[in-house]
């Protein structure tokens, strides 16, 4: 394949060249163990501290409130298990029906072990009902885990208001901010969220590194137990190279934050307008809600997502779909389903997610190439002919 137009950045991102350069020496030259007493290893530890400061700065956190993990899933699991461990008498969890499998899968597992879980629905625009949230949180609720922004629809939940409601009712609050960190300005001092999860590979750091914000004073029990690493909060020799990369990526994200809100968002909006204008029977999912600046979830009526993706793939355009045929379960995406997207449109839901590396030329190309693909599939379809 000659040309790749990568519009699947909510799945994973390219490691930024600056990040890669920052990481390079730690593979083969500066390979010391940060726990060693000799300065060859000890100096490596200073780089972890620097990465921690850089990441804390992006979130407005104190560096002692950040711990590095192996991925977003580990961060989510650590937060939720920690809360359950510290409140053994509380047997209830509140989450949303549109969470990432990292949280939904864990909740399902916990339900089988005697916990009860409330799954808050979203409306057709992908929004939560905060009154429903307030009713759901009881004295028995150990933790509420609600994502900051949805990976599929891009819809952003009001973290500050949600946290207020949860904290008033005495439960701990965790947010999976894997999709929003680096794309939206975020200041943990403006909310009282207890835990916040993030993942390196969604913000141009490598795969295999994540982090968890744990507010000072929040009850905490480690998930991985053993050595003293991460100030006794997460045992296991640090993934130094990737942690260094995540630190650099956080610094870059802060520098590019304005670009993300302006140029990237403008490209997303242009893509949306172009596709809606040139593809009849298209609808934007979650378009009426606050959204991540880089995400467009659009449904093309009367056609099916896998076919769209494969025809785009022939042209080097990478996106993803919530259609049943692209999932292992034969069912449409739980997010699309929960948003009650009409059946005629649900199977044709397609997600384009941009990054700072997306260019105007690429957006032009997609606006030019996708409408004929949709028209071609409509020709094949028995539906949508009045």
């Amino acid at each position: 394949m000659d040309r790749v137009i990568y519009l699947d950045n909510n799945a994973t991102t390219m490691v930024a060249p600056e990040v890669f350069e920052e990481m390079r020496p730690f593979f083969s030259e500066r390979y010391g163990n940060p726990s060693s007493l000799h300065s060859f290893g000890g100096n490596v530890h200073h780089k972890i501290d620097e990465a921690r400061r850089r990441l804390a700065a992006l979130l407005g956190a104190d560096e002692n409130e950040m711990l590095f993990t192996s991925c977003g899933t580990e961060s989510d699991s650590t937060a939720i298990h920690s809360a359950l461990d510290r409140f053994p008498d509380k047997k209830h969890i509140v989450t949303s029906a549109v969470e990432h499998p990292a949280v939904l899968g864990l909740c399902d597992h916990l339900e089988q072990r005697g916990y009860s879980v409330t799954y808050l629905a979203v409306d057709e625009e992908g929004r939560l009902d905060l009154d429903e949230l307030a009713e759901a949180v009881t004295d028995d609720t150990a933790i509420v885990s609600i994502m900051h922004a949805n990976n599929e629809s891009g819809v952003v939940f009001p973290l500050q208001e949600i946290t207020e409601i949860v904290k008033q009712r005495g439960a701990l609050m965790h947010t999976d901010a894997v999709q929003s960190v680096g794309k939206l300005p975020l200041d943990v001092r403006k909310t009282s969220v207890d835990f916040l999860s993030l993942s390196g590979h969604k913000l141009h750091a490598p795969k295999g590194v994540g982090a968890l914000f744990v507010r000072r004073g929040t009850p905490y029990t480690p998930l991985l137990i053993g050595g003293h690493q991460e100030h006794n909060k997460r045992a296991g020799t640090e993934n130094v190279t990737s942690i260094v990369g995540l630190g650099k990526a956080a610094e870059l994200a802060a520098e590019h934050m304005e670009d993300e809100q302006t140029r990237v968002q403008a490209m997303r909006d242009r893509l949306q307008e172009g596709l809606v204008a040139h593809c009849p029977d298209a609808r934007v999912n979650g378009g009426g809600s606050p959204r991540l600046p880089n995400t467009l979830n659009i449904s093309f009526g009367y056609v099916e997502g896998e076919s769209i993706l494969l025809l785009m793939d022939e042209l080097g355009i990478c996106a993803s779909s919530g259609s049943a045929c692209t999932s292992a379960s034969l069912e449409i995406s739980h997010v699309i389903k929960c948003m009650k997207v009409p059946e005629m449109y649900a199977h044709g839901s397609t997600r384009f997610s941009l990054s700072r590396y997306t260019t105007d030329e690429e957006i032009d190309y997609v606006i030019e190439q996708v409408p004929p693909i949709i028209a071609r599939l409509r020709e094949l379809s028995p539906f949508g002919r009045g």
């Binding site: 099916e304 494969l310 379960s329 539906f383």
Partner: protein
């Protein structure tokens, strides 16, 4: 492009016989939007010298790449066949024509075969099969009936729920009907076993072989959830079909040689050779 072979890709990227025949002689609709795929097949039938032949076929598909490829292959298979030949086209024929489909996509070929049968039935003026009182929806998520599951299990020798899901989609979403699917698989396999023709022994020696297999050797295997059935006796050759756990057993040949054959040699005739078949 994922798990598709070149032939499937070709039929997806360059589908043959797309569209709808005007004033068709027969129309076959299968699938529905809720399930995420649907197929409409239209056929034109010509009668020459009293033989009815499918002169043309066109399709419209809403579905994934393999659904489109399977429908395209179906039209290629159907065109030129007599109605009697076409009525015998199965999903296996479509899969073979395409050189294979990934397991989770087999149901696309099933949809193709169903559309062809429906179009032929429509041409012949047969009533479209309605869900009768003897049939019922087993998989509510994908509206799959008991009959469809039974047919898939019967014709394709399916033995697991996963296979049934690949062929019919049943059980592929909420999973609530999995116990029902397991029941149907068990029933159909039992029916198939019962349908195997009973061997009528020609002489006393064969009668003894039959009795030993049915009353001693078979029940002994049953204690390990296995079993066997006599298929034929041809001189010294005794053909048996293995049942239950024996079918999957890695030690099948040892069991046959060291137990079944040994018992028969000791108790009936030392020249007996036991073979697995049927």
């Amino acid at each position: 492009m994922w798990d598709y072979n070149d032939k499937v890709k070709d039929h997806f990227l360059n589908p043959r016989n797309v569209g709808a025949i005007e004033n068709p002689d027969g129309v076959g609709d299968t699938g529905n939007l809720r399930c995420g795929d649907a197929l409409r097949l239209t056929i034109r039938v010509e009668k020459v010298d009293g033989v009815e032949r499918i002169a043309d076929a066109k399709f419209q598909t809403f579905g994934c790449a393999s659904a489109i490829a399977a429908a395209s292959a179906l039209t290629e298979l159907a065109i030129g066949k007599t109605l009697d030949e076409a009525a015998k086209v199965t999903n296996q024929d479509i899969v073979e024509y395409l050189g294979g489909l990934p397991a989770p996509k087999i149901h696309c070929s099933v949809m193709g075969a169903e559309a062809l049968q429906a179009a032929i039935a429509d041409y012949r003026g047969e009533k479209r099969e309605e869900i009768g009182p003897e049939d019922k929806i087993i998989c509510k998520c994908f509206e799959v009936t008991e009959k469809k599951i039974r047919d898939a299990v019967f014709h394709n020798n399916l033995t697991t729920v996963e296979q049934v899901t690949n062929y019919t989609k049943a059980g592929g979403a909420c999973g609530g009907c999995i116990p029902e699917i397991e029941r149907i698989i068990g029933e159909v396999l039992a029916e198939k076993a019962a349908m195997t023709c009973e061997v009528v022994p020609e002489n006393e020696r064969d009668a003894l072989i039959k009795r030993l297999l049915e009353e001693e050797i078979g029940p002994a295997l049953g204690t390990h959830d296995g079993g066997l059935q006599l298929v034929a006796i041809d001189g010294d050759k005794v053909v048996v079909a293995m049942k239950g756990a024996c079918q999957m057993c890695a030690n099948l040949q040892t069991t046959v040689n060291e137990f079944v054959q040994k018992e028969l040699r000791e108790k009936v005739d030392e020249n007996i050779v036991v073979e697995v078949g049927g």
